[in-house]
């Protein structure tokens, strides 16, 4: 992560300018995550026309729409399923999935574990803001214990998911996590995920300021983003099942990177072998 910070990256080259300013609330961390994704794409020199961004439903689902590339706004929880089909059909594309904590872990939880298991070359960015923001602030699988949401008016009593540990256990060959406050570090993690051949799961700890922050009295946008750093302590790789999600001891950076056969490659080799067999037969 020691590449030069000074680049001639201009985010406007990668945005659909006619759609700006974007619809996100003031101070929403998703904008920072979007910048980091585009920054990583720029530094890797990925051609916009060969970049496919698939997103689901929720605030995170809208993030993809501002990218001047091939974007797909799919149904709730299904971006990984769409992306799987896309990547198998068009292995030449760089496929990125932008999803949220609800989209990825609740509605699309099943797709996530199988995408991890399958290890197709997709980069999945899960923007975790601990809440269903777009639908009015309901509890999500990552809402911290005791937090107030519209569906937990007396405080959330459910334990939370540690998405990185989940992805690791399901076999993801790359798992990373970073906070939006550390934008250059987040960019580096995304870059490593994009460069990794296989399924890369990246959890971005983002802030929902207007709905979640306000309801829980976490301060305004600057206070929330300033609090991020103290949340990240390099002690454990997640033990969120036993502890409230935030503040806790979450490790950031590239957490897991292992060598596993990329599914698309395996699939194409098998298909070619089968075709050769069929041809030989007659």
């Amino acid at each position: 992560m020691n590449e030069a910070v000074r680049t001639n990256f201009d985010i406007k080259d990668y945005l659909r300018l006619e759609m700006m300013p974007h619809f996100m609330c003031p101070g929403c961390g998703h904008g920072i995550a979007l910048r980091c994704l585009l920054w990583a794409v720029h530094e890797l020199g990925v051609d916009k026309n060969r970049l496919a961004v698939v997103s689901g439903i929720g605030c995170s689902g809208r993030v993809g729409a501002y990218i001047d590339a091939n974007t797909f706004h799919t149904t709730h929880g299904r971006p990984l399923a769409f992306a799987t089909g896309l990547k198998l059909a068009r292995p030449d594309l760089t496929v990125v999935v932008i999803t949220g904590d609800g989209d990825c872990l609740a509605i699309g939880g099943n797709h996530l574990i199988h995408a991890c298991r399958r290890n197709l070359d997709i980069t999945c960015l899960m923007l975790n803001n601990e809440v269903y923001g777009m639908t009015g602030g309901q509890v999500s699988p990552t809402t911290a214990i005791d937090r107030l949401t519209t569906t937990t008016p007396h405080g959330n009593a459910e334990p939370t998911f540690d998405a990185c540990r989940l992805a690791d256990a399901a076999g993801a060959s790359f798992v990373g996590r970073e906070v939006t406050r550390q934008a250059p570090a987040l960019k580096s993690v995304i870059k490593a995920g994009l460069a990794h051949e296989g399924f890369a799961f990246i959890e971005v700890l983002s802030d929902c300021t207007e709905i979640y922050g306000r309801k829980n009295d976490l301060g305004e946008s600057p206070e929330m983003i300033l609090a991020q750093k103290s949340d990240m302590r390099p002690e454990a790789f997640g033990n969120a099942a036993d502890e409230p999600f935030r503040p806790n001891r979450l490790r950031a950076g590239v957490l897991v990177q292992r060598d596993r056969p990329e599914y698309g490659r395996v699939y194409r080799e098998r298909a070619a072998a089968e075709r050769a067999k069929a041809k030989a037969k007659g």
């Binding site: 910070v5 000074r6 001639n8 201009d10 985010i11 406007k12 945005l15 700006m20 300013p21 974007h22 996100m24 609330c25 003031p26 101070g27 929403c28 961390g29 998703h30 904008g31 920072i32 910048r35 939006t180 406050r181 934008a183 250059p184 300021t209 305004e220 946008s221 600057p222 206070e223 983003i225 300033l226």
Partner: protein, 306 residues
């Protein structure tokens, strides 16, 4: 300046001999202070030593006062009363130079520079360092007798750069009337077995250098010393902030997270660069603006991007 030998003449000595040793944390100021104190005791003198090493672990200043004499009362040396000043770090040496006796004080300094973080007064790229720019030749003009050598280089050729402190002790030994055998015996007893040989070697190397320099004044300062760039030599960076008012949502993130606090929200709740001179072009605001409303342009970037 000569130390009075023990015996009858020592009783005649009316004042103590004052040596100051200065440096930064980790250089071994206290180790050679202890050696010097033991050598003084070996001569049958009273020794008082005191030291300050507040932020030493973080590369902060360390200094030690050693006073020898038939009778020594105060443990500290007053300004203008040190007979010798040993500096393990160049700027520390210059900082304490007025503690030397104006005409007779001996200045012995390593010309190696350890630039502390706080020498960086501005976070702007290419900002000048607030670090001494005197050359050894200029510094030696200010003192009665001076030696400015690259002791670290001498110690490095012996295989251990950290033995620079003992090299300087070797230089000091030629200024004091104490037998070389006593110095070596003290070092031998004081240093741990692992570094004993190298310390004795470093002491001899320092002594040999000083004896050569006494004969030939041109050797007294390190001629290879290159002063740090003056501000005029440092590249000038121009920084410009472009704020897109139409995209700014007034979230206050840039205002509160700018390390220089140079942004404010104006009456329309749009970010505004209130203190353009304070802006260092660090890009924190550009990175953290969720609405991409700030672009930081620097001269270097424009030159590279053009």
């Amino acid at each position: 300046m000569r130390a009075e030998p023990k015996g009858e003449q020592a009783a005649a000595a009316t004042r103590a001999l004052n040596v100051m040793i200065v440096g930064v944390g980790g250089q071994g100021v206290l180790m050679i202070s202890k050696a010097l104190a033991l050598i003084g005791q070996k001569q049958g003198l009273q020794v008082k030593q005191s030291e300050v090493h507040g932020m030493a672990k973080r590369g902060g200043a360390v200094f030690s006062h050693i006073r020898f004499g038939v009778e020594v009362w105060s443990p500290t040396i007053a300004r203008g009363e040190a007979d010798a000043l040993i500096a393990l770090e160049w700027a520390e040496g210059l900082r304490w130079i007025d503690y030397l006796r104006p005409e007779t004080g001996v200045f012995i300094a390593d010309t190696r520079r350890i630039v502390p973080p706080f020498a960086c007064r501005s976070r702007r790229h290419g900002a000048p360092m607030a670090y001494a720019r005197e050359t050894p030749a200029e510094a030696l003009e200010k003192v009665g007798e001076g030696f400015a050598l690259d002791a670290t280089a001498i110690a490095t050729t012996l295989g251990e750069p950290r033995a620079a402190n003992t090299v300087l002790l070797g230089v000091l030994s030629t200024s004091l009337d104490m037998p070389a055998a006593d110095w070596l015996a003290v070092l031998d007893a004081l240093t741990p077995p692992k570094s004993r040989a190298i310390n004795l070697e470093a002491f001899r190397a320092g002594r040999a250098w000083a004896e050569a320099a006494r004969d030939d004044p041109t050797l007294r300062f390190d001629a290879g010393f290159v002063p740090r760039a003056r501000p005029a030599d440092a590249p000038d960076m121009s920084v410009a902030l472009v704020i897109n008012a139409a995209w700014c949502k007034g979230c206050d993130i840039c205002v509160k997270l700018c390390p220089e606090r140079c942004l404010v929200l104006d009456a329309e709740q749009v970010a505004f660069l209130k203190a353009p001179h304070a802006c260092t072009g660090c890009r924190v605001c550009e990175w953290l603006c969720p609405d991409f409303a700030i672009e930081v342009r620097t001269a270097v970037r424009e030159a590279a991007g053009a």
